[in-house]
Amino acid sequence: MQNIPENTLIRASEGDMEAFEEIYRTASGYVYTIALKVTGNREDAEEVTQDVFLSVHKNLGSFRFRSSFKTWIYRIATNRAINSYRKRSKERGRKVPFDDKIAAEEAGAPGVSSLDEEHRKKLVNAMLESLPLEQRACVVLKDIEGLKYEEIARVLGININTVRSRLKRAREKLVSRYGGRGRKS
């Protein structure tokens, strides 16, 4: 995520709506993508994004710059997305499947044929959907957001070895299911 100047954060915490909109324009794509890839549902992702930014607006005054703003907003976004998915699963009494339409939301990567892109997007959603929620959140933060293990540990409030272990299990499963011919020896 692109760094947001401290001055912008301070102005936004003092009620400057222009500064807050600048924060939103910089961070909303990251927040929405996390929400989309964790919940697998567009409406839930929109609601999560809205909740995250209302929470940021409400609590910006108490943000003390001890941790990075990026970690802080990732933490709120991931927790809200996880809670949203859990709530939805509880309501339905079962694991909620990913909405097929979310693949269409994502813009195609440059230089790749649209057919390949379509296939990749569906593959990504199928892979994420197949993972337990905690492992899915780790994979999203690592492979889509590109966070370091230490950052993921801070965002999720878990030990760095737990991050390592969740990623290992998730990828073992994904290689076994989507990794092409042959199996891990």
Partner: protein
């Protein structure tokens, strides 16, 4: 290192660049000489990690910002209206009846003086005030005004 341990590292630290250069080199040396581990690394990177890493960030629809902005600004407008309403309620609310009664009495007195000034002129008011002051003074000092007043009552009113 055995293949099992190497593949565990391929699944995590090696692929994610979380190893020291020294350890990384040891794993890379093994992969170069072990076909099985090389194939495993290829499957992980090409079929799992690369498709995930190519995921683009998606911008939320514009109405999400409109909803956020609306939710932030609405309570702000409400709070201004609330403050005005509270102020007005505070003016009307009778929290301390004695204080209110005293305030009303002062208002009546001031209003009375004002009315007298308006209808009878400033001199009359001054005279009235002087008389009242003299009366109060006589009550306090006992300078005979009471006697005159008593005489007035006795002689002029009751007789």
């Amino acid at each position: 290192m055995k293949c099992k341990k190497i593949q565990e590292l391929i699944l995590t630290d090696y692929t994610d660049g979380e190893m020291t250069a020294f350890d990384r080199q040891k794993v890379a040396d093994h992969i170069r000489t072990c076909e099985k581990c090389r194939a495993f690394e290829k499957r992980l990177k090409e079929n799992v990690v690369a498709p995930l890493q190519r995921t683009e960030h998606v911008q939320p629809p514009e109405e999400v910002w409109s909803r956020i902005k609306g939710a932030i600004e609405e309570p702000a407008r409400e709070s201004v209206a609330e403050s005005v309403a509270d102020f007005l309620r505070g003016l009307v609310a009778v929290r301390k009846p004695v204080l209110v009664a005293a305030s009303l009495l002062v208002l009546v007195l001031v209003g009375g003086i004002f009315a007298k000034t308006y209808f009878t002129g400033r001199d009359t008011v001054n005279t009235y005030l002087e008389e009242q002051m003299d009366f109060l003074d006589s009550l306090y000092n006992g300078n005979g005004y009471t006697d005159e007043y008593n005489a007035f009552l006795t002689e002029d009113l009751f007789l």
